[in-house]
């Protein structure tokens, strides 16, 4: 009896396998629909995919103009782009020549305006974030910061004319134009600095206070070293705004045309007027007939390129500073 059993064993195994299928056949309807998609599930999946594709397309749409702009500018500007283009003055009533005077002018305006707005903005933000209590004064200042950031640049220009050119007697000069740009960038620098300071955990400050540190010791030793990357990024991002604006400088210190010594980085005096890339681009595109075809595009490329370069430097600096802070 035993022997036939053992002989049959493999077939019994086989049978068992078959019967497993067979017996579960009774419950097949249930188990085979287990975890399968229902009509609602299908609709959810379609919606999910549709929404994702829509958002992705929006993202592409955002990048597309940027690529097109830069590509188109480069294509049009290629014939004029060269080393001399950057380091020679415009010639023939700005119909030919290079960009030296406006390029250097923009650098002057940006540097002087940030030299003014960065310290004031950063220190004001430190006060607002680290010292000021929540009272009517700080609320008014915060309100002013938010609203000042929303003022159109042409309004800043009018303020600059009134305050710096006329009232302070600076005349139309690099200084007046830079101060106007500084007023324009100040609220954004304050806002971004406050944000960077706020990102430093409160627990660090508590630790310092409870060891008897004054607020300044806390700021100097702990808060600033940990916020500096964010602060610098915020400041440097204002370079692009200051470099790109036309309205605030055209009544306060930038001129259509001026020749300066080529290759001399100290060619401008801050009490004199200067040329600027943004205004130059506007002039040669709209006011001067028969400009050599590539020049406006070349001007735009230099403006966009130098701003991108500065921003890239800001990103590199931030990455470097971030590797040094960990908590």
């Amino acid at each position: 009896m035993g022997k036939p059993d053992t002989v049959q064993y493999p077939s019994a195994m086989k049978n068992m396998n078959n019967t497993t299928h067979a017996t579960t056949g009774g419950t097949r309807d249930n188990s085979s629909t287990l975890f399968t998609e229902t009509a609602i599930g299908r609709r959810k999946r379609w919606t999910e995919n549709g929404v994702r594709i829509f958002f992705f397309l929006m993202c592409c749409l955002m990048i597309l103009p940027l690529l097109l702009i830069i590509g188109y500018l480069l294509y049009k500007a290629l014939p004029v782009l060269s080393f001399e283009f950057l380091f020679t003055n415009p010639k023939d009533n700005m119909r030919a020549g290079g960009l030296w005077a406006p390029f250097l002018g923009t650098i002057y305006l940006v540097v002087v305006s940030l030299l003014v707005s960065a310290p004031i903005g950063v220190f004001a933000a430190v006060y607002l974030n680290e010292y000021a209590r929540d009272n009517w004064f700080t609320r008014i200042v915060n309100l002013a910061v938010v609203n000042l950031a929303g003022v159109p640049s042409i309004v800043h220009a009018l303020f600059g004319v009134g305050a710096f050119v006329l009232f302070a007697g600076l005349g139309e000069s690099v200084l007046a134009a830079s101060l106007t740009l500084a007023i324009m960038t100040l609220p954004v620098i304050i806002a971004s600095t406050k944000e960077a300071l706020n990102a430093v955990p409160m627990s660090f400050r508590e630790a310092c206070w409870n060891l008897g540190a004054t607020r300044w010791q806390t700021i100097r030793r702990i808060v600033l070293p940990n916020a500096i990357s964010g602060i610098l990024t915020g400041v440097i991002l204002q370079v692009s705004r200051a470099a790109g604006e036309t309205a605030p400088i055209m009544f306060t210190g930038a001129v259509f045309y001026k020749t300066i010594a080529e290759g001399d980085v100290f060619a401008y005096n801050i009490t004199d007027q200067c040329m600027a890339l943004s205004l130059h681009l506007f002039t040669i595109s709209t006011q001067v007939p028969d400009v050599t075809e590539g020049i406006p595009y070349g001007t735009a490329i230099v403006l966009v390129g130098s701003v991108l370069l500065v921003n890239a430097a800001a990103i590199a600096l931030r990455v470097y500073l971030r590797t040094r802070k960990k908590w």
Binding site: R133, D134, P201, S203, F204, E206, A207, C208, W209, N210, L211, G212, A213, T214, Q217, R221, I222, P225, N226, K325, K326, W327
Partner: protein
């Protein structure tokens, strides 16, 4: 025993009719207490009863948190800390605080230990050899020296939580505090870390007066000599720990310590 101690006037902290308001909200109501020298006193009570607020009164750090009004008197080591000649940095040197979540500063272990000294002494007044000795002494006191002596330059924030919390205690020691306030120092730690910190407290008590806020009643029973029960801003009962847990006098205390409430 408590009355005997009070007679001997061996108190680190004495508060008399202490009341405190955050804006219009009264967080402490007429609190009077005496904290014994060199012992561990636990503050227990349900959340929001004012334990942490009371703790923060003793180094006056409450005043950094905005709209606070305080009345009454607090004497630390016999000196009224609301006197006009009290310097807050000096007060906070003597009365250190350890927090719920370990908060080492984002600098090296070595500099964390020296941070307190550096902010209280002139620039570059600390010689390298003195600094080394102070760091070693402080880390030895909290049993971290053997683990950390080879990585003193590492970021303090990269340590395990237990080590971070011990470091936060070690960081107080170079300032030679008399009183160490602890605000739920173990609630972010696991069981092993909790035990380690508790052991550390019992070793250090005697040299320092500890005042510890805790939600863990087992911990209060384990570590403290005396225990204070607070409820809705009032001090309900203050007795020796065993007595408070075994024969609470006030029904509110009884409800809480026998876990009928809270």
């Amino acid at each position: 025993m408590i009355s005997e101690r009070i007679a001997n006037n061996k108190n680190s902290i004495e508060a008399e009719n202490l009341s405190l308001w955050y804006g219009d909200f009264q967080a402490l109501i007429d609190v009077s207490l005496k904290i014994p020298v060199g012992q561990i006193t636990a503050l227990i009570g349900p959340s929001g009863c004012g334990k942490t607020t009371l703790l923060r009164c003793f180094n006056r750090v409450n005043e950094r948190y905005g709209n606070v009004t305080t009345t009454g008197e607090i004497k630390v080591l016999g000196k009224n800390i609301y006197d006009a000649d009290v310097s807050l940095p000096e007060l906070r040197k003597t009365v250190g605080m350890v927090f719920q979540r370990p908060n080492p500063l984002p600098i090296s272990i070595y500099e964390n230990i020296l941070f307190g000294l550096r902010i209280h002494s002139p620039l570059r007044s600390l010689s390298r050899s003195d600094a080394d000795a102070i760091v070693e002494e402080a880390l030895r006191a909290v049993f971290l020296w053997d683990d950390l002596k080879d990585k003193l330059k590492a970021r303090a924030t990269s340590l395990q939580l237990e080590q971070q919390q011990k470091l936060c205690i070690a960081r107080l020691l170079p300032l030679k505090p008399k009183i160490i306030l602890m605000d739920e120092p173990c609630s972010a730690l696991d069981a092993k870390g909790t035990l380690a910190v508790e052991e550390l407290m019992s070793v250090l008590s005697g040299a320092y007066t500890f005042l510890i806020v805790t939600h863990n009643m087992a911990q209060a029973r384990r570590v403290s000599d005396e225990c204070i029960f607070m409820f809705l801003g009032e001090l309900i009962e203050h007795r020796e720990t065993q007595a408070l847990f075994q024969t609470p006098e006030n029904p509110k205390t009884a409800d809480y310590v026998q876990m009928r409430y809270g």
